[in-house]
């Protein structure tokens, strides 16, 4: 079996002392920063990215992946303990998890989240190992027209499944694409939109954009209403769920895993949609739906499994197609490019050690999370109590040093300041920054594929429709857009994404 050979290769890579260490450091740092109030996974990764650039590519990706699940899990911890979801996908966890905590069952709630996440993570890792090669095989046959259409579909789908105004999200994508084009044109070498700044010849620094919009932008948002933060942390008496708890949680965990694994592959789906979908499914299936919102353990087990499965399988489009489905994956792609790896189907064939090493380390990272989180929960609780006004100057310092250290260029620091302002103002105008980041990452690639496709077709745009795979993808993109405008779907979308 090829799969076992591949997994064996992955095991050999992941189980080197170096990679084990970075996987551990990644999950530990990710959890540590993820539990700090007001820092979600995207902000955590943006902040820690520069620290990984000194590492070899495999170790850096393993560490970043570890930071990602660590931060996601940290977000659930804050959701349960203080009702502050670290990220949008833990909003659902907070509903019943925090209620459990208030009834003195914080320990079992945390344990349920950990067990569910671990199970979901293990299954999703296996799914990646099974399906990523198949998808990459297909993707290797893609020509420029297919890639262009795929990116269109990916970008459209990511805004259809996200919340908020569709037109604004589309505008943010286009603005992101345009910002991505700044720098020297690949074909002619013409500097575009650089206004004589030699620093812009290679484009607007990715790290500055990401840190400004997601790292420091979030700090400013947290400073809007400082006084409302509740610092009341529930006591944790015992961690172990009872036999009864186990009996009630296993089915939601299995269902959540299945749901999350499927939804995670969809662009824009990922963790958030999975968690919401799982919560409403459990509520529908429950014998007594009125328990939900009052500390039902299924309301923690299902969504937590679903969001972890979704977070994991969202690596599939990123690893096989080079298409980010959410800001975190956009950051991963940015990290790969900085490491000199062009994401896409050729990663798996060209760098199998990196690909399979990363996959095996995902499973290891999930195992470490369980081992790490349950005994260390006391420390996380103490971190939760760090007052924000002492925390954010440290975030600013680390972001500034990080962005500067990448190229020793002070210009990148100014870029970060500019995008902090831009990101904050746009958020206040109810324009989500995530689509902009996705567009920014895909901009140069899209232009390149468009040019090649049109060159091959001698300037005939029909090529995008006539080639079957490309045509189907564009049709899917149109359908996705049209469905948002349909009243029936619009209502469901609003309901599904409504924060309860």
């Amino acid at each position: 079996m090829e799969l076992f050979g591949n997994l064996w290769l992955g095991l050999q890579v992941a189980f080197t002392l170096q990679n084990l260490t970075y996987c551990f450091i990644g999950t530990l740092l990710g959890t540590m920063i993820g539990v700090l109030p007001g820092l979600g996974p995207a902000a955590t990764i943006a902040m820690l990215l520069p620290a990984t650039f000194v590492l070899p590519p495999i170790a850096s990706l393993i560490m970043l992946a570890g930071i990602y699940y660590g931060a996601s899990y940290g977000g659930s911890t804050t959701a349960i303990l203080i009702n502050v979801p670290g990220e949008s996908s833990s909003i659902v966890t907070a509903l019943d998890g925090h209620q459990m905590a208030r009834q003195g069952r914080a320990g079992p709630a945390l344990a349920t989240a950990a067990i569910g996440s671990f199970f979901a993570g293990s299954v999703a890792t296996l799914i990646i190992a099974l399906f990523a090669p198949v998808l990459a095989e297909v993707a290797l046959k893609f020509g420029p027209a297919e890639y262009f259409s795929l990116m269109v579909l990916g970008l459209i789908a990511s805004v259809v499944l996200a919340s908020g105004s569709l037109v604004k999200a589309l505008a943010m994508i286009v603005l992101g694409l345009l910002l991505g084009l700044v720098g020297s044109d690949v074909n002619s070498g013409t500097p575009r939109y650089t206004f004589g700044f030699p620093e812009l010849a290679d484009g607007i620094g990715f790290i500055g954009v990401a840190m400004g919009m997601f790292g420091i932008g979030e700090v400013i948002r947290n400073l809007e209403n400082e006084t409302t933060r509740s610092s009341l942390v529930q006591k944790i008496t015992s961690l172990m769920p009872s036999r009864e708890d186990f009996r009630m949680m296993w089915k939601p965990i299995v269902r959540g895993t299945a749901l999350g694994s499927i939804l995670g592959i969809l662009p824009g789906g990922g963790a958030l949609l999975s968690a919401f979908a799982s919560y409403s499914m459990e509520k529908k299936l429950a014998k007594d739906p009125s328990r939900f919102g009052k500390g039902a353990i299924e309301g923690v087990a299902g969504p937590e499994s679903a969001n972890n499965a979704g977070a994991q399988t969202s690596f599939i489009p990123m690893l096989t197609l080079g298409i980010p489905s959410n800001p975190v994956m956009a950051l991963m792609i940015g990290a790969m490019i900085i490491q000199g790896i062009q994401p896409g189907p050729q990663v798996m064939t060209g760098k199998p050690d990196l690909f399979w090493g990363l996959i095996v380390s995902m499973w290891l990272g999930n195992a470490m999370l369980v081992i790490l989180n349950l005994p260390l929960v006391g420390i996380w609780v103490r971190l939760l109590r760090v007052p924000y006004h002492l925390l954010f100057p440290a975030i600013l310092v680390f972001c500034s040093i990080g962005v500067y250290s990448l190229n020793n260029a002070t210009f990148d620091i100014y870029i970060m300041a500019v995008f902090t302002v831009l990101g904050y103002v746009l958020v206040k105008l109810e324009c989500e920054p995530a689509p902009l980041l996705l567009g920014y990452i895909l901009g140069p690639m899209m232009e390149e594929y468009l040019r090649r496709a049109m060159l091959l077709s001698r300037g005939d745009p029909m090529v995008f429709i006539e080639r079957p795979i490309s045509g189907v993808m564009l049709a899917a993109a149109v359908l996705a857009m049209a469905s948002v405008l349909l009243p029936a779907f619009k209502k469901t979308r609003e309901e599904a994404l409504k924060e309860e």
Binding site: S405, K428, R451, L455
Partner: protein, 151 residues
């Protein structure tokens, strides 16, 4: 209270301005043809799309929405960005330790709960911690004190 959606109006105008900017500046670059696209082709097309989307957003502002009470954190935004920019200006000349100290002190003022002594301690702690983590630990080539101090 219901008001006109000024957020849509402002963001719509912002998109129109950005799109127009990319189109206008893009006219300096070769446009090329559909078959052989020049460096100006894709940005111009995207710029036009952005202008159109911006107009659509702007036109929706006639819709009435509930008045939004959330406040703008102008002061934290300004103070933090000034802190970052000053950090950029002095990190080479003054060195890492003074730059970190000053950035931490400036940004701490962004909080309503600013108090001098804890902030001084925090800034000093961060400066020392940064030096040991980033310079000693990760081996980044930042001098602790820069040329302004005769290093």
């Amino acid at each position: 209270m219901m008001v006109r959606n000024t957020k849509d109006l402002l963001s719509g105008l912002f998109f129109v301005a950005c799109g127009a900017f990319f189109v206008l500046v893009g006219q300096d670059y070769t446009f090329g043809s559909a078959r052989r696209m020049g460096p100006g082709y894709f940005p111009t097309v995207l710029g036009v799309i952005l202008v159109v989307l911006g107009i659509v957003v702007t036109l929706r502002t006639v819709k009435m929405v509930p008045k939004d009470e959330s406040e703008w954190a102008w002061r934290p935004l300004l103070i933090n960005c000034v802190g970052i920019i000053i950090f950029g200006f002095i990190v080479r000349g003054a060195g890492l330790i003074p730059a970190v100290f000053i950035l931490a002190m400036i940004s701490a003022r962004a909080s309503a709960r600013f108090r001098l002594v804890p902030s001084l301690l925090l800034a000093a702690g961060l400066a020392v911690f940064s030096h040991f983590t980033f310079v000693k630990g990760l081996g980044l080539p930042f001098p602790p004190f820069g040329t302004w101090f005769g290093y």
